[in-house]
Subunit: 205 residues, 4 copies
DNA sequence: TATGAATGAGCGTTCATTCAT
DNA sequence: AATGAATGAACGCTCATTCAT
């Protein structure tokens, strides 16, 4: 049955997730992934053609989940702002919150000009873009509805993602601390005091 | 002459910088660093005790420059906001702008539970914190002077650094594009439209 | 089959034996051991965790054989003197006779303060002591039975081992010569002429 | 002045002696020898063409001293037996008693078929032979004078050297213990009890 | 399909030796 | 003569990948 295949593949992916977030990509040994997945080393190669393929599979899997979450939140009948807020907390409480996931999703976790890297870029970047597009879509919606200022949606999306990242990192730094709202709030309101030159950059009307 | 030592060390550091930003830490071969620095492999080990030491030396060097820049900007007789703006563009036009520097400074570039990682953490994190502190200091100043809202300085600093990072990454994505102001502006003003719930999170008065 | 494991391990051990007796420990390259054993370099590391472990395995193996021989001879219903004689010739015709074995068993073959050396000492010395104890046991028996003088058993054992060593070395020096009995005989009778001060050192009655 | 040359050469030799007996030949770094001798690394190469040459020089130096001692003792107007006894204790109280010297003089300390080893053999063996010859000479004298039995002088010499070696090793094993006479005595008298088959091997008349 | 023993290219590091000063 | 910075060949060990079972 096909289900068996998907099941074992998932087991390997989960094991890989654990090891990669613990040790980072290059310190991850296929050996250990296999052991933790409860399969033999050779078996891993029946499901993934090589080590980079495991990484790509991992990122795909993670982004799939994140995108599903995103789609679900986007469909809710709430204001764009609430959507972004929901997204933020949903992500933060899901898989994405494991220490090391952000690193995993950062292109920087792996190498750069490498031949291997090219494959990463080809597979992963489009997915990252998809997420950015989703967020940008919400922003655009917010602008149209007058809830947001007329900002560049893609830049705002990137800022949003970065803010999320910053949040996670600070959480990782001081574990146990309850999720602070301040970062999210900063994203919405900026740091300038009322009347103190908002619009000053000439971007606003 | 003693200058000779520092000179050669710098040459190695520069070579290492090039290779690491190109390929990432683990794909950096000491061999190649040596070749690019125009010295023999063994020579590298006269200046750095091992490979991690090269990386640490690299980060130290980079952060030293960034901190120097920061100190210089902080001393200028301009408003906190202008300081942050200046910092943003000064960094962006300096060493920090090489594609890969942010990655290099990200803890994620290297591994995690590793013994080696411990050394990284011990040497690099304090320096990162120093930069964050510097930014947080400016934010605090801005708050005291009434230019900024009463936000948590450290969170704002992290947000600022993340915004910078986002900016660089988007710049890396679409090279050639002139530095966009949008991200910076978003940092200052947030995305909410006037009167639309700024303070909504209850953080404000 | 489990036998396969032991078989291959033995093949590596035999190859290591050949190389180490030929070149000495530090000039033994794991590469060459592997080649001679007919396996790949990496395979050696499946059977021995590192190079010192190969050496220790080698000594263990050799001493095991020697101790087995010793036990067998000790069990024979012959006089202590005959036991020592038998031991001498049995060893001399067995594995122990390869040029270089004595060297291999000499602590001196390897280094001294080294961390590695500590492992050697921990593993090998006890075994050497075991052999010395076995010989000392025979000597004690001989003393009790009145066949030997009242000498210190451990000193005699050390002397015996040294004599054996001397024999092997002289044999190595002039290969092809049939085993000379003279060294063995010297061990039993000493060099003093009859009546010429045997006991003179005051040790005898 | 030429004296300066010999002086510095000696300093290097002494440093080498210390390091080699401490760490063994292969763990001896030319660097450390130079440092301990108080000269620069390059200087060592002005006095010795390469590392093996240092070792050979070391052995030459040591054997020279031992041979001088030997000659001196041989010239004394005492019985052959006394000569051997004196030699034993003179050596034991001189340079030869450093832990590790015996190892140093053992061919086994270094490698075997190696090209380097050939040089060792060529230089050192003759010297070892010289010492053996000296001892054999004393033995022969003893036989002629009726003090010793009619044994093979070279075999006896080898036995003598081995006994000395055994003594030193046991001394090294249990440091602090006063030199035991037992080994020496065993050499002279053997272990057989009176009337119990001395001559039994048919070597005697 | 699954296994895990075997492989061997590849890398970090050491250290004897050289040579410009 | 003396120095010590520079060299680079050499080696121990790792680990992604393969393949006979």
């Amino acid at each position: 049955m096909k289900a068996k295949y998907a099941e074992k593949r998932l087991a390997i992916l989960k094991a890989a997730f654990a090891v990669v977030t613990e040790r980072g990509y290059s310190d991850t040994k296929v050996d250990e992934v296999a052991r933790r997945a409860g399969v033999a080393k050779g078996t891993v190669y029946l499901y993934f053609k090589d080590k980079p393929a495991i990484y790509i599979g991992l990122v795909d899997w993670l982004l799939e989940q994140a995108l599903a979450t995103t789609a679900e939140v986007m469909a809710r009948p709430i204001s764009p702002r609430r959507k972004l807020e929901e997204l933020f907390s949903t992500w933060a409480s899901g898989v994405m919150s494991s220490p090391g996931v952000m690193a995993l999703l950062s292109m920087e976790n792996v190498n750069q000009t490498n031949t291997v890297m090219k494959r990463f870029k080809k597979h992963v970047l489009p997915h990252i873009m998809e997420m950015q597009d989703a967020v940008a879509g919400i922003v655009k919606q917010g602008i149209e509805q007058g809830e947001f200022r007329k900002v560049e949606p893609r830049a705002a999306a990137m800022m949003y993602l970065s803010a999320f990242r910053a949040e996670l990192m600070s959480a990782a730094r001081s574990p146990g601390a309850r999720p602070r709202e301040s970062v999210k709030e900063l994203f919405f309101c900026g740091i300038l005091a009322e009347g103190r030159g908002r619009r000053a950059n000439g971007k606003g009307k």
